[in-house]
Amino acid sequence: MNPVESASSQPPAPRRKLWRWVAVLAGAGALLITLSLWNLFTLSRETTALRKELFDSLPLPASPQVQVSAGPVLLGLARTALSVIPDVPPEARLALRSVRAASVGVYQLHGAVESSDRVKLFVAADRAMAQRRWTRIVGVNHRRDTVLVYMPADFAEGDSLRVCLAVCAEDKLVLVSAVARGDELLELVQQHHRLAKL
């Protein structure tokens, strides 16, 4: 048998397989980017629950001004990017290292929040967070400002710090949630203290 003939009769399998892998990788990449973008503009679960309950309790319409989240992947990328940039203060690197996830939502309230509505905010927020086993550690109602801070009820020493807060000031509602590593926060404070002494 002619060796040339024999070679041409075989299908070009390796090239087709390679294209298949490229397509799979491109699809996975696109999915990852879509998910990252979705996560970027979606609040964390706790903050979403808190927002829903607060919006339901307020008789005013509200429109989002900023709604952004950064999860471990995005913060990891930011940490990597920061590591190659020279002249970044060490505190900034440490601060970014300590934060595991963060979520911020700023909403414009169309109208004034009455005193009676502020009382309702307390009740609604407590209800939403209690269902998720979060407890209020700070609650302030002072003139036209309301501040609520929640933490998981089962928070134990050594756990990552998870905080969720809501601030209603004037015609703005701000929701923030963050997860930070306690040990690295402590290191940040200690480093700040060392730098302040220099």
Partner: protein, 187 residues
């Protein structure tokens, strides 16, 4: 169905665990739930032992005294409840009953400062564990001038000479002013 039973059992266990923590602490007082009154000041701070221990580690480098104080604490609860004319009687009545209950429960009244007119009415109670050690502290203030009632409960091991420092570190004004109040009372 199994999930519902499991969730209910977990919730019950969680509640019982939370209750038992407080039940074993002689210095703990159930201040109850306060509701914010429309148009009135309302502040509530409720810090448990893990958070206080974390806070003590945070401040350890800058303020050893504060860190030592915080390390000994198990629970801090502060309530500032504003009242208006409609709720004035209820708030005053609740405060007076609360004070009477503390006396009945064996708490020692260490400071009483009552002014005239719109001045503050401050009463501080302690739960003693020995000659020097305090295992619980309650500060009650009725401020007719600013229409506010203040309830503070600090649970944990506190030395008598740390009381004023504790007030300063935790920004509990009636406690921080304790020396001044006591001195002015003596005067």
């Amino acid at each position: 169905m199994k999930n519902i039973i499991r969730c209910a059992a977990a919730s019950l266990a969680f509640s019982l665990a939370a209750l038992s923590v407080h039940a074993t602490d002689a210095g703990y007082v159930d201040l109850g739930r306060f509701k914010a009154v429309e148009g009135c000041e309302f502040v509530e701070v409720d810090l448990g032992s893990p958070l206080l221990k974390f806070a003590s580690r945070l401040v350890a480098r800058e303020d050893q005294e504060a860190a030592a104080l915080l390390r000994g604490l198990k629970h801090v609860r502060v309530n500032v409840v504003g009242y208006d004319d409609a709720t004035c009687a209820d708030t005053t009545d609740r405060l007076q009953k609360f004070r009477a209950e503390l006396v009945r429960a064996g708490w020692q009244q260490i400071v009483t400062a009552r002014g005239t007119g719109n001045a503050e009415d401050v009463v501080v109670f302690v739960k003693l564990a020995g000659d020097e050690a305090i295992e619980g502290l309650v500060v009650t203030v009725l401020d007719a001038g600013s229409h506010e009632a203040v309830f503070v409960n600090v649970v944990g091991s506190i030395n008598a000479d740390q009381l004023s420092a504790l007030g300063e570190k935790l920004h509990i004004a009636p406690l921080a002013d304790l020396k001044i109040s006591a001195a002015s009372k003596d005067a």
